[in-house]
Symmetry: C2
Subunit: 334 residues, 2 copies
Amino acid sequence: MLVDVHIDELATPALVVESSLLDRNLDEMARALPGSRCRPHVKAHKCTALARLQAERGHTAFTCATVAEVEGMARAGLGDDVLLANEVVDVGRLAAAVATGARVTVAVDSAETVAAAVAGGVREVVIDVNVGLPRCGCAPADAGHLAELARSNSLAVRGVMGYEGHAVGIEDRDARVAETDRAMALLAQAHGDAGGELITAGGTGTYDINGVATEIQAGSYALMDTAYGKLGLPFALALSIVATVVSVAPDWAVADCGLKALGMDHGNPTIPGAAVWFCSDEHVTFAPDQPLRVGDRVRVLPAHIDPTVAYHAAMHVVDGDEVVETWPVDLRGW
Amino acid sequence: MLVDVHIDELATPALVVESSLLDRNLDEMARALPGSRCRPHVKAHKCTALARLQAERGHTAFTCATVAEVEGMARAGLGDDVLLANEVVDVGRLAAAVATGARVTVAVDSAETVAAAVAGGVREVVIDVNVGLPRCGCAPADAGHLAELARSNSLAVRGVMGYEGHAVGIEDRDARVAETDRAMALLAQAHGDAGGELITAGGTGTYDINGVATEIQAGSYALMDTAYGKLGLPFALALSIVATVVSVAPDWAVADCGLKALGMDHGNPTIPGAAVWFCSDEHVTFAPDQPLRVGDRVRVLPAHIDPTVAYHAAMHVVDGDEVVETWPVDLRGW
């Protein structure tokens, strides 16, 4: 949707994406991991308009976390090769993903998830392997058996998946490298047993570290957040939330960006030029370095991009002070 | 919307409301604070179907935090007396609230917010007073002047508002009482200066403590959460999130209810019969007391109701295992 709006005309709180920074982030990833070496994870932005820019840069295979994301990507014509990198046992929802006509590959880590994939009409799977993060994934030693079970049920096993989520956020690069190496040794072992052409893993924090994965499931790199911002990566904070100062006291100010506009699991957001005190449902209270007036606007930088974007219906692409496009956040929900 | 579905047929994660517990909570509040003594805050549930049940119990005046909530309440025919208990300087949005035809009263705490109210066509305001929470509200000593300013601009001043948000969550009741009393002494002083028939304040944690407010803006009492659950109030946890176990390891299990289904500012959710370890975007990892199997369902209790509900498009009302109604969460956004 093309619009012709000044940024100050946006109703707040408003997600805004700096067009030039987004482009730079997307270009950098396309240079570092061209084509199928990066399988962008759409869970970080939940926006098919943004996914299209990733596809235009050569990344035409995508990662999704939910069936709703698969459905949305298919609707947008971006379903050439979609990996549902998550365990799903809801046969009806799996069937819905298959019914989109997209090429859908699903993660499995148990006999139950294999059975659900079969029942849902899924044809291709990856074996999800636990590489150290206590979440989904079979034990590395079980990957071979599980692949066999899948094949014996007429599923094509495209390879293995193993997300080093316990490594991606480690601030010290050497420690991050060491943890990633440990994790990928497990995944390589599992791949030896399970076979297939794909070793799919990784994230924004390990995109240039993970030497085992054939493809990296990076998502946050496009928009970034303050948590990943601490890692010294060549990706800029392209997303912020424009908020309006609605109240000013001698020692603090209050803007209209609160808990319902921000993922809070990584802690408070950041406001450049201010110390953030706390957030309430619809407010952030902060101490600005310089006095602010009611009606002034501030930029709020989220600590965690994924659950922040999921609260918003749209993001606005800006070039300086001009809103050049408004994109629906069309992959929300499940 | 009437439905005929077994709870196990719901796609997960799914917000579910226990009909009998909701009724009990609503009845208890209507008994304790009948009619206009309670002005339910819709920000906690963002659902006009639920607000209608509150209106049917005699609470026909409501509190809103956003213009979108005002618009939705007006659309639902629940706009008899809606207090936008928040500072808004966006004249266009204020005008949109007025244009709904609802009786809209807006909080003001500065010359700027008075000017915005006038420009937006607002006719009635309350003077928002800071009673100890570092957020919005003028200094108590300024309330009289601000009321004068509002009246000189042809605004009707219905009274004062002062939210003791720093008191509502204090677990020790005596300490909660003491903090509330301190806050309300300030509000009473401001009311003496500003005049008007309303002294609007309070929340679920102080609904039976606040002896100064003429009306209590309680919201959480209807659905509740684990934070308010610690206060020993006569309100039951009526809302939970049904999640499906998608992966099981020897020491933990994983269900499909993560950061995008839960407000996380008050910390991790609770799963009865389990120790919650952490949440990821689409997962909760937990150690169950008894072994679980893939496909089993668990109930996840959010720590903070307001930002949890704001992630969901619908809530399902259940009577035992039967889904008796599905309500849109129709007051989301801004």
